[in-house]
Symmetry: C2
């Protein structure tokens, strides 16, 4: 651990009593519209398609802590950008990136997990809880599916991690949640095991979906919408 790493902390929040209170809060969680794309502690850049939409690009510009997953550092270098850290097994790094970023590479050869999770874990161990991931989709679809589903794992660890693509944002949720977003927004809900799911403010009714496609292609009909249930799910909001 280098000097900069030490200044940030050791991620002890993961077992803090504060987190326990948040996890067992009896009130619905509220997602204000202005916070949907703001206030992140760090941004992780994955190995998928580099974004072209202004929102994920803006996220990179708003934080000093950009962590590139392995080969994403090559793309960063080609664009004249410099990340804060490069994390992963580093088998996809170009010789130029390896040399250019030698001071900020944190190699992690673990074969049990992927580079996205290595980057998120690196940040979590330094106490960073709100993390945006970009370039997590596109290219190999099995990576896309894996990366999206990992948001649920991060939520179980007490982290608030979202994926921003060129088309929308994936927000992992537990139990009843209230979202603020413009009327007419396209919304999809993916259940990871829910009980009694119902909605207010969406065009089509929700239920405890058993297949991914069943919760797709919904639309908001009011400026806030509520998802009532017990259990875990992903909300996808189209920009």
């Amino acid at each position: 651990m280098d000097e900069i790493d030490e200044r940030i902390g050791n991620g002890s929040f993961l077992i803090s009593s504060e987190m326990e209170e948040i996890e067992h809060c009896p009130y619905p969680k509220f997602y204000p519209f202005e916070e949907i794309g703001e206030g992140f502690d760090a941004v992780v850049v994955g190995g998928g398609d580099f974004p072209s939409h202004p929102l994920p690009l803006q996220l990179i510009g708003e934080t000093e802590r950009v962590v590139c997953c392995d080969g994403a550092a090559n793309e960063f270098l080609a664009r004249g950008l410099c990340p804060w850290r490069v994390v992963g097994d580093c088998d996809s790094l170009s010789a130029k990136a390896r040399q250019e970023f030698s001071d900020i590479i944190r190699r992690n050869p673990d074969q049990e997990t992927n580079d996205q999770t290595k980057a998120v874990t690196y940040l979590a161990e330094k106490g960073m809880r709100r993390i945006a991931i970009i370039a997590a989709t596109g290219r190999r679809e099995d990576h896309t599916l894996g990366n999206i589903s990992l948001l649920i794992e991060y939520m179980r660890q007490g982290l608030d991690v979202r994926i921003y693509t060129d088309y929308g944002v994936f927000v992992p949720c537990r139990d009843t949640c209230v979202f603020e977003c413009p009327t007419g927004t396209a919304v999809s809900i993916f259940s990871f095991g829910t009980h009694g799911m119902q909605a207010e403010g969406l065009r089509y009714p929700l239920r405890d979906f058993t297949s991914w496609w069943q919760g797709t292609l919904n639309t908001t009909e009011t400026p806030t919408f509520t998802i009532r249930c017990k259990g875990e799910y992903l909300v996808y909001l189209n920009y």
Copy 2:
């Protein structure tokens, strides 16, 4: 139903005794390598990114029965291609495509399902069972997730439908299956409810995965690999 439609049949195979036998066959299903990308009755072109990889492009060239899902017909027209049918709610068709393809449009305004399923159902009703889908991924990720998961639904209806992307193929499977493919192929397995999942010929062991990411990033170590289990799952083979 027009003259061409009538010549093809009415899809009665879905309740034929032959299908029943296939469904209850006690032997593992074998997927020979040469059949992975061949022998389809029809190809469905979805509304995702139009492919650039030779394999999905080749599939279009090998069949006369190409069905475009709604707005995919615009892309087909722009490339100087003509589909066999255009199926969907047709709200994304350009005026030019609407005029050009007026004889082959089969409008289906059903709001309970998506254009991909409308195209597959149209083909199934005409007795076509082996269907390849291209352009099902890319663009909105909620559509990608929905389209991929629908392969399991089609399998439950007795159809053999696969999705070919620029990176790999998704094959829906039930119970024990044997695949032939080159050693070193990247493979991912997505469980949709399995019991006792084990593998032979893969680098990392399988189990009854409870999250999408758990079955990703595996590799074949022999020229055939076997997945043993009861239940439904998707196999993704990287090209």
